[in-house]
Structure formats: structure tokens, C-alpha cells
């Protein structure tokens, strides 16, 4: 595939992710920060986010598995996750976190469990999409093209 096609694909994919709400404006901001001094800024941040996500999701699972459930503890984790997702622009994840927090407040175990599942879904979707995005970027770079930014 040639660069132009790759670039178009990338653009479409990014547009789609934005449209679908996987990402929001914050992600574009991150992309703006990527320059010569920090060429892999976005990827680094996203990688950090993935690690963070997995850690937090595990914590949440464990906390919800305890008897009795310490909702405050769960809430703390969700809060953290919300912050991180907001920073990278993971909109859907952030929204689910918001709902999750409500359930924690009302100590609705069933709601929490459902949210956790949803989070895990969203996370995997996001992860897949981002990884695809990064692969495209790599390919473009490898082909010598430049990465188009989202306007």
C-alpha cells in the first residue's frame, strides 16, 4: 500500500475513532505535543495508559471480589482510571468510569460489576483500535511519510 493510501486510512481511522467517541479532543492535543523533541510522545503516553489500565482493572476486580466489598476502595481506583482516561482522551472509558463511580456511591454491587465488565470491554476495544492506529503510523513512517494530524 502506498503512503497516500495509508495516510488516508489513518485519517479515516482517526476520524472514525473520534466519531465513535473512542477518542476525544484531548487525544488531538496530545498529538500536537508530539514534535522533534519528543517524537514518540503519544505512543509513550498511551503505553503508560495501557499499563495503568490493566493494573487498575485488576485492582477493581479484586476489590469487587472481596466480601464485604469496600466500595470506597473501588471508587478510588475508578477515580484514578477516570483521570488517566481523561488525560489521554479516552472518552468512552471516561464516561463508563463516571457511571461506575455513581454505582460505587450508591453501593450498588450489581451495577459496579456490570460497569467493570463494560470497562474491560471498552478498554480492549480502545486498545485494539489504538494499536491498529499505531501500526498504521509505523507503516507510514517506515514508508517515509508523515503522520497526518487530526484537525
Amino acid at each position: 500500500m502506498d503512503v497516500l493510501q495509508l495516510q488516508r486510512k489513518l485519517r479515516e481511522h482517526q476520524a472514525a475513532m473520534l466519531r465513535e467517541g473512542f477518542l476525544d479532543d484531548q487525544f488531538s492535543q496530545l498529538q500536537k505535543l508530539q514534535d522533534e523533541s519528543s517524537p514518540d510522545f503519544v505512543i509513550e503516553v498511551v503505553k503508560m495508559f495501557f499499563d495503568d489500565s490493566e493494573k487498575l482493572l485488576n485492582n477493581m476486580t479484586r476489590a469487587l471480589g472481596q466480601v464485604p466489598v469496600d466500595f470506597k476502595q473501588v471508587d478510588a481506583h475508578v477515580h484514578q482510571y477516570k483521570g488517566s482516561s481523561a488525560s489521554v482522551g479516552a472518552a468512552r472509558v471516561k464516561n463508563v468510569c463516571a457511571t461506575f463511580r455513581n454505582f460505587c456511591e450508591t453501593q450498588n454491587l450489581e451495577g459496579c460489576v456490570r460497569c467493570l465488565q463494560q470497562l474491560q470491554n471498552e478498554y480492549s476495544l480502545l486498545k485494539n483500535n489504538l494499536q491498529y492506529l499505531f501500526r498504521l503510523q509505523e507503516e507510514i513512517q517506515a514508508a517515509g511519510g508523515s503522520i497526518p494530524t487530526i484537525e
Binding site: 519528543s38 488517566s84 488525560s87 482522551g89
Partner: protein, 756 residues
């Protein structure tokens, strides 16, 4: 004189020869005299001894002596009738001499004593008289007391009932009993007032309806004074029963009885004593008795007569007052209950009204949202459609669709705004903003339209106009935009000028609005904006209608989209909320129009504390400021966030150090760091850290500026930050431009609190 000297007996013979009988009689008399004379003192002594009190003992002694001696003399005389010896004669002489002395002494003493004794006697008589008098008086008092008791009983009887008939009857009965009357009668005035009718009598049970005319002289006499008057038993009022006695009928007395009419009775206004109508009470002493009316009896009658009605009246009066009080109380209870009911009803009405308002607001909000969404879709898609290839006809259609939808969108906005304005639920959002930028933005928005219509647009801002003001920026802009927009709308050609000055007190005498008296102060100023256009003008008569909703001036002849009519109404509401005034002047059709408004804006206090509304979207303002190695410290316990913020700051050219916890932050912070960005999403850690940093750096110049980064959009967070002495607060997410602006602002003003 025969003098016979006897030889030896020394006897003295009497002078003449005594007759035997005479001598015998003398002899006996002397004997009895002596006896009497001797017994008298004995008696005296005996009785005096019996009575302890006798003041004149000495007199008694003297008297006794005198009598004893007299008795002795007469006793000795017994021996001198016959021949007696010289001794006897001597004793006789001695006795006589003594007797003579004592008698004379006694006689002399009696001269003193007898007047005393006489005076004692007179005193005794006087005392006896006095005692008799006292006895008489005692009798009188007793009788008076009796009558008094009777009166008391009478009044008690009278008081115990409020019934007038009973009172009168009882009075008559009691009087009759007390005074032992033969007959007692009461004559009452008839309704006409011209006659007296016999109403009650004591003895007769059913008095026949006798009447007598009221103007009889005897009756007038009785009525003219309040005393009981003796009248003749033959006068008409006294002739009540057939005269049965053999002798004279008893004395009759009549007295007036004042009648207080209950119809005159006002609750708080006791009628005067001088009433016009009287009844007549006639009292008859028993015939064939020699009784006469005594003064005290008359007094009793007068008193009773005077009191009858009053007693009745008092009783009735008290009851009437009590009744009126009860009535008032009941009235007030009723009024209170009514008030309570009304309160409850009002409360209910209020709650219902509130519910209705809420429901309406909810409805409006929902409808608004529901209406806006498709509206936006239409507008957006129509715009997009415009971008594509279209035939001229299609383009025209699309343009029309766009115009109509824009209009509709404006209308929807206006309706929502106005309804919120109307029920007062709209509140101005006060912020500090730049006046100049407001005007410039309006200009930018209107310029395209104006240039299409080839209207020239000029803006003149006074030099003394403050750069920053405190007020509702959005609404002020809306107002200016509306006014200028109208000016453009209704002008086909010519020019539009916008002038903004600070209103001076002198200019307030611009007497269009005489009741408007704005007073500028240190914290406020009045902005005066005037928009002149050379458009179609307005008929002066139509001017008042302009500000009313939905009214459209007929004189408007433009092809452009006709205004919904709400715009000016909303403007006026906004202006009023800003404590100002708006008015239109026009010289007439075709002569242009001037809209002026004055609003009150605040003057920001001190630059340090100015809360600058942060407008991150400054179009086309990509000043690539490089902050030249500004040393900053980022504290965030979330790795992702930390990296993002760091990247942001690095991009802007800062020298970024990061810390993952409060302790680490405190460890690595140094005076070289100019700004510390700390995340305060996670509880109180951030605030604590801020305090510790301030403690660490005593002097304000040395320490870095502390700025909080938070995703919380609530006032509490902002207040907390300000309270712990932070220098700024920014809301996440932070874009590059925003961060750039933040840093510039911070370095310039050393404070930045984003409006929440």
C-alpha cells in the same frame, strides 16, 4: 321670887310650882326625845357602816355628837322635874353648855356641806336623764339596723335575678315586710308616656289595669324630686283598695323610681342619670295605726327606689358586657380561623404555582433541547449541502432552508431566554471581562453582513472606558449584538456608528429618562452605548411598541428576515437586570434611528484579585510563545496525567520536573521553580502540600506560584484552593493553547483563577 333656902339638901327648887299633868307630859316627851336622839346616830352608824362609801365621816361624827348631847340633855332633864341635887343641876348645865357648843359648830359646818349635797343630787338627776336618753337611742339604732338588714336582703334578692318583674315584685314584698306596710304599689308609665298604669301591688295578686294620667299635680310633685313625698290617701294613685278601716287610713308616701331604658343602652356608653321616664312607687302604712312615716323609713324608701333599676341594670349591664366580650372573642376566633384557612390556601397556591413554574421550565428546557437538536442538524446539513455541487435553483432552495432554520434557531433561543427572564429565574453571570474585546467581537460578527449591504460600520470607544469590567459578558454582547443587528437589518444604506462612553452624571440630565438617576461610585461605572443608523427610521408613535413582545412595526419594509420581535424585549430585560435603561429615538420615517442604552458595570478591584474569565478560544491567535526554559514542577500521583502535563509543558518550552507524591514534591522543590502544578483531584493532599510549600518558603517572592489542576468544576474546590493560598486553578483537560495562555497570565499577573 321665892327663894327658899333649905337647910341641908342644897337643892334647887324650880321657880314655880309645877302642874302634875304638864310635868308628866314633859317627862314622857323628854324621854322619847332622848330615845330618838340616841337611836338616830345608831341608825346612821349602822347604815353608813353598811355602805362603804360615805364622804363626810367627820360631819357624821359631829352630828352624832350633837344629837347624843341633845339626847343627854333631855335625858338629864328628866331628873330636873323633881327636886334635884346640885350635882344634877351641874351636870345638866354642863350638858347644855356642851350641846350648845356642838350645835353651833354643826350649824356652822352645815352651811358648807348642804350646797355640796345638793349638787350631788342634781348630778344624780342629770345622769338618770342621760341614761334614759341613751336607752332611747339604742332602741332607734336597733330598728335602723333592722331596716338596713332588710335593704341588704332586698338588694340581694334583686341582684340575684335579672328579671325585672321579679325584681320589682321582690322589692315590693321586701319593702312591705320591712316597713310593715299595708299596701305597696308600683305605677309604670305606659308606652305612650301619657299615663301611669298600675303594674304591681303587694296584696292584690292581679291588679286591674288602673291608669291615671301622668300629668297630675301630685305626680309631678313626686317626680320633680328624688325624695319620698307624703301624699294624700285620697289621691288617685293611693286609692287602691276599698277603705276598710274605721279610722283614718295610714299615711301614704310616694317616691319616683327612675327607669333606664334598655333600648338606650350602648355597651360602652352608660346613659345619664337624668332620664326622662319614671315609675311611681306608692307605699301605705297600715290604717288604724297611729304610725307615722319616720325619717329613716323615708330614707330607706328613697334609697331602694333609686337603686331598683340600677341594680337590675347593673346586673344586665354586666351580663351585656360579658356577652359583648364573648361576641368579640368569637369574632376574633373566627377571623383567626379564616386567616389560617387563607394562609393554607395561599400556601397551596404558591406551591402549585411553583410546581407549575418548575414544570414549565422543565418543559421549556426539554423542548428547547429537543427543538435545538434537529435544528442544529438541519443547519449543519444545510451548510454542508451548500458546499456541494448544486444547481442555481437548488442553491436558492438550500439558502432559503438555511435562512429559515437560522431564524427558527434564533427564535427558539429567544423564547427560552425570554421566559427565563420573565419569571425572574434568569440571573446575570458576573465575571470580569474585557470590554474592548466584547465590542470588537460584535464588530467582527456584524462586519460581514454590513459589508454585504454596503453599510459602513464604525466603532468609537472612549479613551476613559475601562479595559476590564465586571458584569455578564455574554448578555452584554447579546444586547449590543441585537441592537447593532437591528440597526444593520433596518438600514438599506448609509452608515452605522457605535459609540461607547462612560456615562457622566451631567449626561444623565439627558431628560429622556427623568426617573433614572444612576449614581456612579468607586466600584461601579455606567457604560453608555449609542448606535446610530441612517436607516428607515421609525415613526415616533410606534416607538413604545417596539419593546413589547411580538409587536412588529408596520413601517418596516425590508426584504431581510423579519425580526421575531422578541429581540428588543429581551434586550430591555437584560438592560434592566443590569440596572440600566434603554431607549430609542427617531426623527421619523426615513430619518434614521438612534438606540441608546446605559448599563451598570462593576470596576474590577485590584489586578491581583481579578478573576479573569479564561477564553481559551482566541481565534487565530497562535502566538508561539516559548517560555524559555521556565522551571516548573508537576505534582500528580497518576502517571498518565503526569506524563501528559509534562509533555504539554515541555512542548511549550518549559523545564519540567515531575513528582509523584507530596513528599517527593517537597523534597525536590526549590526556589528555582517558578510554578508548581499540582493535581488536586485526589482528596486533601494537594491542599496540604500547598500549605507546606508556603511554609517552606517564607518570602513570597522566593516561592513558586502554586497552581491547582483539577477536573472538579465546583465552587468548593475553587474556594478551598483560594483559602489555602494557591495562586491559581485550571480545569482539566488543558489544551496547548490553554496552557500557553495560563502561563502567560501567571507570569504577568501572578494569579489566575479560571472561572468555574
Amino acid at each position: 321670887m321665892w327663894f327658899k333656902a333649905t337647910e341641908s339638901c342644897n337643892c334647887i327648887e324650880p321657880q314655880w310650882p309645877a302642874d302634875e299633868l304638864l310635868v308628866k307630859y314633859q317627862y314622857i316627851s323628854d324621854f322619847f326625845i332622848a330615845l330618838a336622839y340616841f337611836s338616830i346616830p345608831l341608825e346612821l352608824i349602822y347604815f353608813v357602816k353598811k355602805s362603804a362609801v360615805f364622804p363626810y365621816r367627820w360631819v357624821l361624827v359631829q352630828f352624832g355628837a350633837f344629837i347624843v348631847l341633845c339626847g343627854a340633855t333631855h335625858l338629864i332633864n328628866l331628873w330636873t322635874f323633881t327636886v334635884h341635887t346640885r350635882t344634877v343641876a351641874m351636870v345638866m348645865t354642863a350638858a347644855k353648855v356642851l350641846t350648845a357648843v356642838v350645835s353651833c359648830a354643826t350649824a356652822l359646818m352645815l352651811v358648807h356641806i348642804i350646797p355640796d349635797l345638793l349638787s350631788v343630787k342634781t348630778r344624780e338627776l342629770f345622769l338618770k336623764n342621760k341614761a334614759a336618753e341613751l336607752d332611747r337611742e339604742m332602741g332607734l339604732i336597733r330598728t335602723q339596723e333592722e331596716t338596713g338588714r332588710h335593704v341588704r336582703m332586698l338588694t340581694h334578692e334583686i341582684r340575684s335575678t335579672l328579671d325585672r318583674h321579679t325584681i320589682l315584685k321582690t322589692t315590693l314584698i321586701e319593702l312591705g315586710r320591712t316597713l310593715a306596710l299595708e299596701e305597696c304599689a308600683l305605677w309604670m308609665p305606659t308606652r305612650t308616656g301619657l299615663e301611669l298604669q298600675l303594674a304591681y301591688t303587694l296584696r292584690q295578686q292581679n291588679p286591674v289595669g288602673y291608669t291615671v294620667p301622668i300629668h297630675l299635680p301630685v305626680i309631678n310633685q313626686v317626680f320633680s324630686s328624688n325624695r319620698a313625698v307624703k301624699i294624700s290617701p285620697n289621691c288617685p294613685v293611693a286609692r287602691l283598695r276599698p277603705h276598710t278601716g274605721k279610722y283614718l287610713p295610714g299615711e301614704v308616701v310616694a317616691v319616683r323610681v327612675p327607669l333606664l331604658n334598655l333600648s338606650n343602652f350602648q355597651i360602652y356608653d352608660w346613659p345619664e342619670v337624668s332620664t326622662r321616664s319614671y315609675a311611681l312607687m306608692v307605699l301605705m302604712l297600715p290604717s288604724d295605726s297611729a304610725r307615722q312615716w319616720h325619717v329613716h323609713e323615708l330614707e330607706l324608701v328613697e334609697v331602694v327606689a333609686d337603686q331598683i333599676n340600677r341594680l337590675h341594670f347593673d346586673g344586665v349591664g354586666y351580663v351585656a358586657v360579658a356577652l359583648s366580650h364573648a361576641a368579640i372573642l368569637e369574632e376574633s376566633m373566627r377571623a383567626r380561623n379564616l386567616l389560617i384557612e387563607q394562609n393554607v390556601a395561599l400556601d397551596l397556591a404558591r406551591r402549585e404555582a411553583e410546581t407549575a413554574i418548575h414544570a414549565r421550565n422543565d418543559f421549556l428546557a426539554v423542548m428547547n433541547h429537543e427543538m435545538r437538536t434537529p435544528m442544529h442538524a438541519i443547519i449543519a446539513l444545510s451548510s454542508l449541502l451548500q458546499e456541494t455541487e448544486l444547481t442555481a435553483e437548488q442553491r436558492l432552495m438550500v439558502e432559503t432552508i438555511l435562512k429559515s432554520s437560522n431564524l427558527l434557531a434564533t427564535l427558539i433561543n429567544d423564547v427560552l431566554d425570554l421566559s427565563r427572564l420573565e419569571d425572574g429565574s434568569l440571573q446575570l453571570e458576573t465575571t470580569t471581562f474585557s470590554l474592548h474585546s466584547v465590542f470588537r467581537e460584535v464588530l467582527n460578527l456584524i462586519k460581514p453582513v454590513a459589508s454585504v449591504k454596503r453599510l459602513s460600520l464604525t466603532l468609537h470607544l472612549a479613551s476613559d472606558l475601562p479595559v476590564y469590567a465586571v458584569g455578564d459578558e455574554k448578555r452584554l454582547m447579546q444586547t449590543i449584538l441585537n441592537v447593532v443587528g437591528n440597526a444593520v437589518k433596518f438600514s438599506k444604506e448609509g452608515s452605522i456608528s457605535i459609540t461607547a462612553i462612560v456615562a457622566k452624571p451631567e449626561s444623565f440630565k439627558d431628560a429622556r429618562i427623568p426617573e433614572f438617576l444612576p449614581v456612579p461610585s468607586d466600584s461601579h461605572f455606567y457604560l453608555r452605548v449609542q448606535v446610530n443608523d441612517s436607516g428607515s427610521g421609525i415613526n415616533p408613535q410606534d416607538i413604545p411598541k417596539l419593546f413589547t413582545k411580538f409587536a412588529q412595526s408596520q413601517a418596516v419594509q425590508t426584504k431581510g428576515p423579519a425580526g421575531s420581535g422578541l429581540g428588543l424585549a429581551i434586550c430591555r430585560r437584560f438592560v434592566n437586570l443590569m440596572e440600566g435603561h434603554i431607549w430609542i429615538e427617531s426623527e421619523g420615517i426615513g430619518k434614521g434611528c438612534t438606540v441608546t442604552f446605559i448599563v451598570k458595570l462593576g470596576i474590577p478591584d485590584r489586578p491581583n484579585e481579578s478573576k479573569l474569565a479564561f477564553a481559551p478560544k482566541v481565534p487565530g491567535n497562535h502566538v508561539s510563545t516559548n517560555f524559555g526554559g521556565l522551571k516548573v514542577l508537576v505534582m500528580d500521583d497518576n502517571g498518565v496525567n503526569r506524563s501528559v502535563t509534562k509533555g504539554l509543558l515541555l512542548h511549550l518550552g518549559c523545564d519540567v520536573t515531575t513528582a509523584g507524591s507530596s513528599e517527593e514534591c517537597l523534597r525536590i522543590i526549590s526556589p528555582e521553580h517558578r510554578v508548581v502544578f499540582m493535581d488536586v483531584c485526589t482528596g486533601l493532599d494537594g491542599y496540604e502540600l500547598a500549605i507546606r510549600i508556603q511554609e517552606k518558603f517564607k518570602k513570597r517572592q522566593d516561592r513558586p506560584l502554586i497552581v491547582a489542576l483539577t477536573g472538579n468544576t465546583n465552587r468548593v474546590t475553587k474556594e478551598n484552593c483560594m483559602r489555602v493560598g494557591m495562586d491559581g486553578l485550571i480545569l482539566k483537560p488543558v489544551s496547548v493553547d490553554k496552557m500557553r495562555g495560563v502561563l502567560s497570565e501567571l507570569l504577568e499577573h501572578r494569579v489566575l483563577f479560571e472561572a468555574i
